[in-house]
């Protein structure tokens, strides 16, 4: 094999290695984002549940708005999780 072709193979291998390394890093970041998204959905469920408990403990006219905000927060968390899944 000529030196030029050997050099080309080495460079190609380096490029492939860099690409595979970058791909692996992005894959790892994606996995972390998915896990974080899942935990955030769990947190959203807890917030919604506790808002309902708080609303039963102290009843004021503004609480339906707060509970609605909690539900909205949960839906946004679900949307973020789905977004991370299809990243």
């Amino acid at each position: 094999m000529s030196s030029t072709s050997q050099l080309g193979l080495i460079l190609g291998d380096s490029t492939n290695l860099a690409a595979s390394t970058e791909g692996a890093a992005l894959f790892l970041i994606k996995i972390l984002l998915i896990v974080a998204g899942f935990l955030y959905v769990c947190f959203g469920v807890i917030v919604t549940r506790q808002t309902a408990v708080m609303k039963k403990t102290l009843i004021t006219p503004i609480e339906p708005a707060i509970q609605l905000l909690g539900l909205l927060h949960l839906f946004v968390a679900l949307g973020i999780f789905v977004f991370f899944l299809f990243l």
Binding site: L58, I59, I80
Partner: protein, 246 residues
């Protein structure tokens, strides 16, 4: 010569006596009230016995205030049918400034990081967008949770009890209740420049109940709260003396 009064005879104008001046005095002597009649007497309105709350106008329950005298449409889950909420307190809004500033700082942090450490710019655009969305979702969660902690951690004074509602975290709730009869001692503490300027402090209430001490932390107008509690204690004593205990 004037007639000699004879008590054994029933006078025609029973209950009224005419004197020589022509005026008529009405004899208002009546039978004393029985204890049942006294007990049936309606409870006095708070404005009748509390000078502090008499000067306060009733507030809407929609308010985000920390001092809510005579709030409309505010109830709690263990409230009795004839019990009225006289005062709803929260921690003074100035105590929430640290987390508000923290949330603002966290919101601005990505821009600082991008300017100082441009490492993230090597990521694909959608990953940068995902990271930003995730970051601001966390910041919003932090702010929302802090707001819920402030809004629902309340101190309630009714005409029967004092209630301390504590949500120490989203999954831990503690409600302490003490009847006004069981209050032994009230201590109000206002220390420091910030507390003096914004007029908020901590009130410690010693009780004879199972919960020896209730603490109203960083509530506005601690002197007024103490006065209201003292007036309520006096009214409770008065109710006991008059036999109007419910």
């Amino acid at each position: 010569m004037p007639d000699i009064f004879d008590a054994s005879q029933k006078h025609p104008s029973q209950g009224s006596v005419s004197d020589t001046t022509g005026t008529t005095a009405v004899d208002t002597a009546t039978e004393p009230e029985t204890s049942a009649e006294v007990a049936r007497r309606p409870r006095r309105h708070v404005d009748e016995y509390s000078e502090v709350l008499r000067q306060e106008t009733a507030t809407s329950g929609n308010s985000f205030q920390a001092w809510l005298p005579k709030p409309h449409k505010v109830f709690f889950d263990t409230q009795m049918s004839d019990e009225h909420v006289l005062l709803l307190l929260r921690r003074h809004p100035i105590t929430q400034v640290p987390w508000i500033l923290s949330a603002i700082g966290l919101a601005l942090l990505p821009f600082l990081v991008a300017a100082v450490f441009p490492v993230i710019q090597f990521l694909p655009v959608r990953y940068i967008m995902a990271a930003l969305i995730g970051w601001y979702a966390l910041v919003f969660s932090f702010g929302f949770e802090s707001f819920l902690m402030w809004f629902f951690n309340v101190y309630i004074i009714t005409d029967e009890r004092i209630i301390d509602v504590d949500f120490n975290s989203l999954i831990y709730k503690n409600i302490s209740t003490a009847k006004l009869d069981n209050i032994e001692d009230i201590t109000s503490t206002t220390g420091g420049a910030i507390r003096s300027i914004f007029d908020f402090g901590t009130i410690k209430i010693q009780t004879a109940a199972a919960n020896a001490e209730l603490e109203f932390e960083d509530v506005p107008h601690p002197a007024k709260v103490t006065s209201v509690l003292n007036e309520l204690l006096l009214e409770e004593e008065r109710e006991k003396l008059e036999g109007r205990v419910n």
